[in-house]
């Protein structure tokens, strides 16, 4: 693939915290409008990789980052790059849904508002459209003024999804987005992601293999900070090339 091919590509990315190297020379072209799932055991660097993609590692102590991450051909680690503009292109779902300390409506309107939208009618339209996209509208349409913290955890995660969509991203990042959810809510979030991939490039990190099997179009296996293998999910699940991938898929290493 060439530079301009995808929304998101990672080139020779290495990350170290102090003396500990967490990611070693990772390169990956993320296919557009598909769900790319990054699998690997705990502590393999999955979350670090995801956080490196929208420069949230910046806010942490002592992270040393080398290599490049290209978003629409723009190097996000170039000091000239305006980070708020990069982050706006990516919605983030964290492990534990993190709603903002305000009402359901304001949670979704927060993003558009900070990017300058004031028109109340437009805001209402966006809130409804994104809540529908996240599959939450029917459940909360009469509770828009309530504090978002009163929603169930499963609803909160879909609210976070809608909130991310409201700033008009191209990419959705999910950091084990269902790990705090009950099985039914997890399924709903998975279904939404499978629908949303028609319009968005989705990258999900998970350690749940069954989840990867359910939703992945493209699979990347990360082990001890190294990108061991990546390719179309069906191929890797059927016939992993690297013995480490095989060992992980069969449950020998976890």
């Amino acid at each position: 693939m060439t530079d301009s091919a995808g929304h998101l590509s990672i080139r020779n990315l290495s990350v170290a915290f102090g003396s500990q190297t967490v990611l070693k020379n990772v390169s990956l072209d993320v296919p557009d409008r598909k769900i790319t799932v990054i699998i690997g055991p705990s502590g393999c660097g999955k979350t670090t990789l995801l956080r490196a993609l929208n420069r949230l590692l910046d806010s942490e102590d002592s992270a040393r980052i080398e290599g490049t991450v290209l978003v629409d051909g723009e190097d996000i680690y170039d000091p000239k790059t305006e980070i708020t503009h990069i982050r706006k292109k990516m919605g983030l779902l964290s492990q534990k849904p993190q709603v903002l300390p305000m009402s359901v409506f304001d949670n979704i309107a927060y993003g558009p508002r900070i990017h300058g939208l004031r028109d109340k009618k437009r805001l209402r339209e966006i809130v409804e459209r994104e809540l529908r996209a996240a599959g939450l509208w029917e459940e909360v349409k009469d509770r828009l003024g309530e504090p978002a913290s009163r929603l169930s955890v499963g609803q909160q995660q879909r609210l976070c999804l809608a909130r991310g969509l409201a700033v008009g991203p191209e990419i959705i990042l999910g950091d084990e987005p269902t790990s705090a959810l009950d099985p039914q809510s997890s399924r709903i979030v998975e279904q939404r992601l499978s629908v949303l991939k028609a319009d968005y490039t989705v990258v999900v990190v998970t350690h749940i293999l069954r989840q990867a099997r359910r939703i992945a179009d493209y699979l990347a296996f990360l082990y001890l900070g190294e990108l061991v293998e990546h390719g179309p999910a069906a191929e890797i699940f059927a016939d992993p090339r690297d013995p480490r991938t095989r060992a992980y898929l069969t449950g020998e290493i976890s």
Binding site: N54, L56, S59, E60, D61, T84, H85, R87, K88, M90, G91, L92, S94, K96, Q98, V99, L100, P101, M102, S103, Y110, G111, I114, H115, P147, A148, S149, C160, R163, G164, V167
Partner: protein, 285 residues
Amino acid sequence: MGLRRRRVEEAVFKLLMGVSTAVVAGSLLFILGTVVVKGLPALDLTMITQTPKGGYYLGKEGGILNAIVGSLLLAAGATFLAFVFSLPVVLYLNVYRRRGSRFAVLTRFALDVLWGVPSIVYGAFAFLLMVYLGLRASLLAGMIAVALLEFPIMARAMDEVVRLVPPALRDASFSLGATKLETALRIIVRQTLPGIVTAVLIAFGRGIGDAASVIFTAGFTDRVPTSLLQPAATLPLAIFYQLGTPVAEVQQRAYASAAVLTLLILAISLAARTIGRRFKRHTIK
């Protein structure tokens, strides 16, 4: 033997804790009791609605309205000044600086040291500042002195709550493309509003009761101040001057003034709790 020893140990320490608790609770009751019993006979409507008339300190007519109004104005102004400096410091430490950065550690240490500085030292420092600025003892100079005293208290109290904001909440805001300032003002402040309100009111309570910082700076007058540059009476100093007279009746008024001050502080603490609870609606646990 082991079990017996441990049982005795348990009993001894339980007794010690009981005694300590009784001493603390007892002193509070004793102080309140003294103030009320000694002050109540002298506390009437004139006391809180009138300014001192001629010869008030010798037992003649009048009240302490000048000190009540002076104290409220002074503490309000000082608290406002302290707030204007505390909030930016706290947000800077917690949003703009990395967690555990050396700068933040040093700043917190400096605030802790300032917290421990005796208020007479703030009074003396503010006095020098006042002379340097060409001010006279006035409401404004008193506000500056009390603001100096309140600032470390308010800043540290706010810092303690703002530090507890989960990093994931900041990240959620950042990931929507918010700047640090937007995140600080719209998310962090909103999340910690109950704590911020409490911090402000704690500092206010501390400021309104302090005598040493205003003794050189605010002056003292029998009139209710009408401008920032006029001297202002304060309740702590009113208590001090009234206790210092040889007239028994006036001394009793000192206790009445102390009762008024105590009630004011009590009201502020209660307000802090209720207002704090009000703002919890949207707070995320």
